[in-house]
């Protein structure tokens, strides 16, 4: 399931919904991304997340379908927020459920790595020195590329 929303989410409630009524699920893996304050002169006081409505949902659905193709998942969930967020706020939740932990853990890692390089979101940071757009990280491309080698 894909959700793109401005509002916060309740992690416990979402994970409960993901597994409820399916006794085949033996494990749930999750990743929660938070707004980080870098500290010092780069102190981030807030983050604004912009996205491309339509393409965002399409790309997230494609990534989720690919995870389901690669691993035997019973359920999966991606929630990504947009709008203005402050340090400590939740940005993203990825959760995967499977009979066994290996598939759930690997698929969760795959989803967050691919989401970072494929889903059309952009962050701008408010800092004491002004507002600036976050630059894409080369390490994120490398992290996503790891998964193309192993099918």
């Amino acid at each position: 399931m894909i959700k793109v929303q401005r509002e916060d989410f309740d992690v416990g409630l979402e994970l409960d919904r993901l597994t409820r009524g399916n006794p085949h699920i033996g494990g749930v893996a999750s990743f929660i991304g938070l707004v980080r304050d870098m500290g010092g002169t780069d102190r981030v006081t807030a983050l604004s997340l912009e996205h491309y409505p339509g393409m965002t949902e399409k790309k997230l659905a494609e990534i989720e379908a690919e995870a389901n193709r690669r691993w035997p998942l019973d359920a999966s969930l991606i929630i990504h927020r947009y709008g203005r967020l402050e340090p400590g706020d939740r940005i993203v939740l990825v959760a995967t459920a499977s009979p066994h932990r290996e598939a759930a853990l690997a698929a969760c890692h795959f989803l967050i790595d691919w989401l970072k390089t494929d889903a059309p979101f952009w962050k701008s940071e408010e800092t004491p020195a002004g507002e600036r757009w976050v630059a894409a990280r080369h390490e994120d491309d490398e992290a996503a590329r790891r998964w193309t080698a192993r099918k």
């Binding site: 912009e50 491309y52 393409m55 701008s124």
Partner: protein
């Protein structure tokens, strides 16, 4: 065609969205970007380094050789930074 701009490309160009007829002689993404650059200083500045620019046509990532047609939705934006 509809053209959408996001993040700092939107800020530099000064608009989020515009509707344009397919320019004469423009057949692919590379030609469209070259034509847009000539529309004003904001466009020229935003599109001067195309290694920092990604393009999606009808909501799929495409390369410079991808054909464009009137009626396409073309989105132009920097590398993504979500998650």
């Amino acid at each position: 065609m509809k053209i959408l701009y996001f993040a700092w490309l939107r800020a530099k160009i000064g608009t989020a969205e515009e509707d344009l007829p397919l320019p004469r002689g423009v057949a692919d993404v590379a030609a469209l970007l070259a034509w847009l650059k000539t529309r004003g200083p904001g466009y020229a500045e935003a599109l001067k380094d195309l290694t920092a620019v990604r393009v999606a046509v009808n909501q799929d990532y495409v390369g410079p050789e991808h054909k464009v047609r009137d009626g396409d939705e073309v989105a132009i934006f920097p590398p993504v930074t979500g998650g």
